[in-house]
Symmetry: C2
Subunit: 403 residues, 2 copies
């Protein structure tokens, strides 16, 4: 938690990963982020993984450091409260993050009638408004056919919701950028961020699309080989798998030296008339000749022998470890200053992260947990919308709000 965005007020009407991470990053930089949900929870409130008591570890991870308001969004008055929240006044407000449908009761045109300078970050599936999620967008872009062992033709979906995460972070960037523009020109804007466009643009940014355009077909599946350079998993004498990677000349030189392959690699360079050091593409082109050298070198040593040699030699490498090992890895979790013990709405206490980056000049404030659903309903109705106690009580009695 840092205070870079202290003073900003952001309202979030969201579910799942992309829009909630956008709000999360804003909250972890000190913005007041108010998430509203349906009474009883939105479509992600029971999403797995679950704690033993049924609470969602997913929901409480994605909504840390936010305030929570519970509304009946099927009720016209509940919808009106949501609209008023999204468009509440204040120079540092009027910032709304959502993945609600582009043409529904939270459509930009409707909200702009209540606040003309509203900035809205709208996460979408497909750009035309049709349903799309991380998995189906991946399938449309060839990634599951490029992923997985070369000797298996079945499509492999990767388990990381990468486009969701990217959309959330890019969305936070876009929202703050639009705020800077509004401070200059006073204009409201909707920024539409469909997963389909974020994914298509990213594939193009990394050259996948131009490559396929000129080759006529996409990159073939090649298991764990790092495309265009040298990298793969190799098996040690004691059966451990280690990933080694050499993109730069320096990385290559260190890997070859640490494995004692200098003479053998030089001989192969002589035979082929190429330099592996200068051009990483040569390592990729001739990888079928290089792999046996590396396989033998790994097979002759244990992981316990290779670890200090790789670290001392500055090799770019990594062991494959399950996540339970990562939890005891001081670099990742156990002693990582990003993480602090926090009591979560599930009632469980476990270490959770604050802001993902570190600012040496500022004091890091401890990670803050998610709120109980509806925990801030009354506070927000009073402070943000200026309702009096009688009005708030009426909304409770009518079942329009809860908490």
């Amino acid at each position: 938690m840092y205070d870079l965005l202290k003073g900003l007020r952001v309202v979030e009407g969201s579910a799942f990963v992309a829009a909630p991470t956008c709000g999360l990053y804003l909250a972890q930089f000190g913005a007041e982020v108010i998430r509203f949900d349906n009474i009883g929870g939105g479509p992600d409130f029971r999403r797995w993984p679950l704690a033993d008591n049924g609470s969602s570890l997913y929901w409480e991870g994605l909504n840390k450091a936010k305030k929570s308001v519970a509304l009946d969004l099927s009720h016209p008055e509940g919808r009106e409260v949501a609209q008023r929240l999204a468009t509440a006044p204040g120079d540092e407000g009027g910032l709304f993050v959502t993945n609600f449908p582009v043409d529904g009761f939270l459509a930009y045109d409707r909200l702009a009638k209540l606040r003309a300078d509203l900035i809205c970050l709208r996460v979408m599936g497909w750009a035309d408004g049709s349903q799309g999620m991380d998995y189906t967008i991946n399938a449309a872009l060839g990634l599951p056919q490029m992923t997985g062992p070369a000797d298996d033709a079945r499509p492999v979906n990767h388990v990381l919701a990468a486009w969701d995460l990217l959309t959330g972070a890019w969305g936070a960037f876009a929202l703050v950028s639009a705020l800077m523009a509004r401070q200059r020109d006073g204009k409201g804007r909707e920024i539409r961020a469909p997963l389909s466009d974020i994914a298509a643009a990213s594939m193009a940014n990394m050259g996948f699309m131009a490559e396929t355009l000129f080759a006529g077909r996409q990159r073939p599946r090649m298991g764990n080989d790092v495309y265009g350079a040298f990298g793969r998993d190799f098996t040690t004498r004691d059966g451990e798998k280690l990933m080694i990677l050499a993109i730069t000349p320096k990385q290559w030189g260190k890997a070859v030296e640490a494995l004692g392959l200098t003479a053998e690699v030089a001989a192969l360079e002589g035979e082929l008339g190429v330099s592996f050091a200068i051009d990483e593409g040569n390592r990729f082109t001739h990888r079928a000749r290089l792999y046996p050298l590396f396989e033998r070198a790994f097979a002759g040593r244990t992981a316990a022998e290779l670890t200090p040699a790789f670290d001392a030699g500055g090799v770019t490498w990594g062991a494959y470890q399950p996540l339970e090992a990562a939890l005891t890895d001081p670099r990742l979790y156990k002693d990582n200053p990003l993480f602090q013990e926090v009591r979560h709405p599930s009632g469980l206490t476990y270490a959770a992260p604050g802001a993902m980056g570190t600012i040496p000049q500022d004091q890091r404030r401890p990670a803050a947990p998610a709120s109980r659903l509806g925990q801030h309903t009354d506070e927000v109705l009073s402070e943000v919308l200026g309702m009096d106690a009688a009005e708030i009580a009426r909304l409770h009695d009518a079942g329009v709000v809860a908490g």
Copy 2:
């Protein structure tokens, strides 16, 4: 291309994906982004995929809309020029994006002596400064063991550099947030964004870490099954693979109805005494009972029959298509307004994307290509550093700059 950040000047000293995408997003929102590279190109200048003429499609994709300066970074004077660029004056300058080592000639403390209010976004591998890349961080977090077919124990690296992309976008958000803070408090800051922390925090944000902490071991590998809900690829009568997904009750109802499975699913619910509609976890728990129903329904229909039925029924689904098919998909590439035909530094003309999101209120400016390496050296030395023609000529003659 939009003008949200018009007027900002960002200097980028970078390579690979994370830091360059940070600069790319800033440039596509109208900031002036000046990337400096070694004369002849940095370590990513020849990165695959390559065009037939040897130009990197990767490099020209990641550096669109930026200016380019070429310096000899092994030369003390070249390093000094880089330092002066990163810290050049101006209220809307003093913004530096880099993945150069944290303690080298571009260390924050050194640069802060030249400009005390410098904002620096520093992409790192591991937080302790040691070498780490997307692949090795993934391996340390268990993802390759969770990815791939359940009947194959080999680790599967996914091909998408997801942490790189996330770090770039989050970094752009952090940089602009730090600028907003500087406008308030006048302070400079370094924001360190190690892939290891971005990845560990993200796994925790989505609940993976808490799940593993309480279960004692990570989520098992389960092929293409969507965790905690209903989703998988199924094969049609004509051998096509389609991904179908149902997280919300609405998505589930539509999938069941479109496949004509209402009665069979109701019978299974009766037998098991559960509701699949209300609780997506039940669909996951009992997926071994549900899959045969869906397998039979898909096997009885062709993809051509299912496509209109799914679309008309509002089902969340997607075909697995290779990237060459995505290039003819009007939603992704062919008619996607993000993409415009551009002549790139490779000499090739092909459609490339501008800003990843869309702002209906603003006019989208066409995508801009990358620059030729060193194309703006003289212009930048003159306009940003105020050098006269004689000084610039001297630097050229000494081999300190090129372009």
